[in-house]
Subunit: 124 residues, 2 copies
Amino acid sequence: MRKRKPILTEQELEIMKIVWELERATVRDVYETILKQRRIAYTTVMTMMKILEGKGYLKKTQEDRAYLYRPAEPKQNVIRGMVAEFINRVFNGSAEPLLVHLVAEEGLTEKELAEIAKIARREK
Amino acid sequence: MRKRKPILTEQELEIMKIVWELERATVRDVYETILKQRRIAYTTVMTMMKILEGKGYLKKTQEDRAYLYRPAEPKQNVIRGMVAEFINRVFNGSAEPLLVHLVAEEGLTEKELAEIAKIARREK
DNA sequence: TTCCTCATACTAATTAGTTAGTACTAAAAG
DNA sequence: CTTTTAGTACTAACTAATTAGTATGAGGAA
């Protein structure tokens, strides 16, 4: 059985979210964005992005002086993987308990649920 | 703002699942259970369970020679916390996108969705 | 040209998570 | 009573994740 691609860690996800948002970004772009939230070193961001490239989540091209990074695959794919991984860990792989949990937790009405179903169908 | 209780790591969750299942368990009980799946040292399990006690997920009482551990709070509470934490990390705190994702991913029909809603209502 | 800025590569320190060894003690077995 | 067994406490090794420092080079500014 092939070992599956390592899933995103906390900090890696932080960076991926930014790159998904910007669609393409240099280390500096990401660095500046994170700086608004918290203190971090430029080289830290660089290291992380290189790791993400190694894991196959980002791809880079040379652009002027600096590398330009882009997501290697669409956000939806990655999110799908993370959700699946979470369901495996916490709910032993079956999605239904999570759904039940969420519906109960949110106290959704029939109407809201139908609305979600509609959006989901569109998403498909 | 009070710092929230540290969330369960991978291995900690593995142990908690066993204790929830058994309802109360000694280190040995958990050790034997894990052994069925993989090789592990007795003291490793002990260390982990002590950590879980420190984090407030387990509480122990002296029982004969060994400690008897029990869950400090019901499984549902902890699961709720983990789901919330996941939603924060991945979906910036809003549950709806996760719901939409799940419904779309599972390709649920009206009927199945209604069924889930029914179970959820009972759960409440 | 010379200097400053900003980029990368390489290296490494620190912290968190996981795993397990060793010393010691009390109870059970012989 | 002595030996074996099964438990805990304390310590530590190892791996993974996170963070950042230093060296170096290319390009633009003076």
